[in-house]
């Protein structure tokens, strides 16, 4: 089913692989899923030794293989819950594979810093904390601090950077998060759509930033439900459905098949 052998532009020879996924399987284990949530129900399940009180397994990625080369921009498409974000996390080495392997050149990074930030702290401290969490040094952050703040536009309407992040509107929070996340240079960069938020003006600015990052990074992965942005930025597309790789090939070809399938 998977058409792995379609090369994505450029000669087959002399291409340098940066990411190789070899029959990759990812399984999530969820505690407390399934069954009724009451204490008596849990006790009954324990006494009867029924399965389900322990945990449920979600097989999110099933046997995906592909090779990504330097200079490629690869889009990931598929319906919600098809395993796109999970695949990205596995490539980044953040989710341990159940079976199979991911080989990478250097350390791929996920464009996501949200989790390191604390809403009770000021924007200023969050810039520093987020930068350190991504592996920057204090000097690097100090060097880029003004760029980050300017790019986020947080201070356009007064001195908001010195207020706790919980006082920001959700749009302002998203803008600051994005600005921190893109402050670092990456070898293999992975972008999950959820990051590109904010108003029209900021969206345009962040799209330009993503293109800039793409030029710097060796290989870019982009998860998106927006076929236009995939078409604009990617030269190769992986189509995932239920954790399986349905199709892998040049953007036009895969998007055409995808659009026929989803009836757009």
């Amino acid at each position: 089913m998977a058409e792995q052998d379609i090369p994505a532009g450029g000669a087959d020879e002399a291409r340098i692989p940066t990411v190789i996924a070899d029959d990759l399987h990812i399984v999530y284990r969820v505690h407390g899923g399934g069954g009724r949530g009451t204490a008596t129900a849990a006790l009954r399940r324990m006494v009867r030794r029924e399965r389900g009180y322990k945990m449920r397994e979600v097989h999110a990625v099933r046997g995906v293989s592909f090779v990504a080369y330097r200079g490629e921009a690869i889009g990931l498409i598929g319906s919600n819950g098809s395993g796109k974000s999970t695949l990205l996390r596995a490539i980044a080495g953040l989710l341990p594979p159940e079976r199979g392997r991911v080989y990478t050149d250097g350390q791929p990074s996920l464009l996501g810093v949200n989790a390191a930030l604390m809403n009770d702290l000021t924007g200023e401290r969050n810039v520093i904390l987020g930068g350190l969490a991504m592996g920057m040094t204090r000097d690097e952050i100090k060097h880029r601090y003004q760029d980050i703040v300017d790019f986020s536009g947080i201070n356009d309407k007064g001195d908001f950077i010195s207020l706790p992040m919980r006082t920001y509107s959700s749009g302002m929070q998203a803008r600051l998060r994005f600005s921190i996340a893109v402050a670092k240079e990456h070898d293999v960069l992975m972008i999950d759509e959820a990051l590109a938020t904010g108003d029209k003006k900021f969206q345009r600015r962040s799209e330009a930033k993503v293109r800039e990052l793409r030029a710097e990074a060796g290989t870019v992965f982009l998860v998106s439900h927006n076929n236009k942005s995939i078409r604009d930025t990617c030269d190769r597309v992986l189509w995932l459905e239920k954790g399986e790789l349905i199709m892998d090939g040049p953007t036009d070809q895969v998007l055409k098949a995808y659009e026929e399938e989803t009836g757009k």
Binding site: A14, A92, L94, V113, N114, L121, G135, T137
Partner: protein, 309 residues
């Protein structure tokens, strides 16, 4: 690389693992060697410190008095313990208030340091799954950082302790400086314990429910609110096979009691402080080394598995 050889043939002709090896690609998310891991951690030292400070600052940021609670919380704690154990209950083993209250307050704060380190260690992975699943960093950063947060909390508490010690007529001497090595050893011990429980807690989150009971038992068995040796040896209805003085020795060698007694030895005057044997320092060093190194290695062994489930 030559363009004509088979070196870079399309993947369908070559096993993927071989292709990866040929181009020097490494397995993503593989566990680094132990020295490599230590180097990675050292590289993240700024993050570790910043994370602990951020956690500490976020703790009271919604309160009106803000960071004053850092000092107010331990002070109120000490007051409650004094009320219950100093005034209402006996059990002070022949100590007068001017000796008992510093004894009690030191015991409570020093034990709380270990207790909170263990509790935050248990939750350090399971409570920061978002972080673990989004960013790449040596996972030991989290338990270590949270232990440092507890250390900073303890330093605020020690201010109260010094005030209380002074207030009850225990005057500064060179011995007070011994607090520093005692707490440094305790920090190593706590961090090792936090790392150990971080791995356990990442696999079994239920530990967060169970540990408070275990820790409270440990607290009572370590002589936090009463002098241990006095209580064990005074009790006269032990069964015949129990040797009370041996039992007291064993209880006094447990790490919680060891670090507590050393801080008391350093800061207090009086009969209790004089009764702390010198071998306690050896115990303190031994526990710090064994648990510190053991916990670190134990945590590292599962490095690539944190973040699942």
């Amino acid at each position: 690389m030559s363009e004509t050889t088979h070196d870079s043939a399309p993947p369908r002709d070559v096993p993927l693992a071989e292709l990866a090896a040929r181009h020097g690609l490494s397995v993503s998310g593989a566990r680094p060697s132990l020295p490599g891991y230590v180097r990675q951690l050292w590289g993240r030292r700024q993050f570790i410190v910043a994370f602990s400070q951020a956690k500490l600052a976020a703790q009271y940021s919604q309160a009106k008095l803000g960071q004053i609670w850092q000092v107010l919380t331990p002070l109120l704690n000490a007051f409650v313990y004094f009320l219950i154990f100093g005034l209402l209950l006996g059990g002070r083993g022949g100590m007068e208030n001017d000796e008992y209250i510093p004894f009690l307050v030191i015991g409570v704060f020093v034990f709380t340091f270990t207790q909170n380190s263990v509790m935050s260690g248990v939750k350090s992975i399971s409570g920061n799954l978002g972080l673990v699943r989004a960013l790449h960093f040596p996972r030991a950063s989290l338990p270590i950082s949270l232990s440092l947060q507890q250390l900073q909390q303890l330093l605020f508490s020690m201010v109260i302790v010094l005030v209380i010690a002074l207030g009850f007529g225990h005057y500064p001497s060179w011995l007070w400086l011994l607090v520093l090595p005692a707490l440094a050893l305790q920090l190593v011990f706590n961090t090792g314990l936090a790392l150990f429980f971080a791995r356990l807690g990442s696999a079994t989150p239920d530990l967060a429910q169970l540990m408070p009971f275990v820790l409270r038992t440990w607290m009572y068995a370590s002589g936090v609110i009463f002098p241990l040796r006095h209580m064990v040896e005074e009790k006269d209805d032990w069964p015949s096979w129990v040797d009370p003085s041996l039992l007291a020795d064993i209880l006094a060698a447990n790490p919680a009691a060891v670090y507590m007694d050393l801080v008391r030895y350093a800061l207090m005057d009086g009969t209790f402080a004089e009764s702390v044997p010198m071998i306690t320092w050896l115990y303190a060093l031994g526990w710090a080394l064994v648990v510190g190194v053991g916990g670190f290695v134990y945590f590292w062994k599962a490095e690539e598995r944190y973040g699942r489930g």
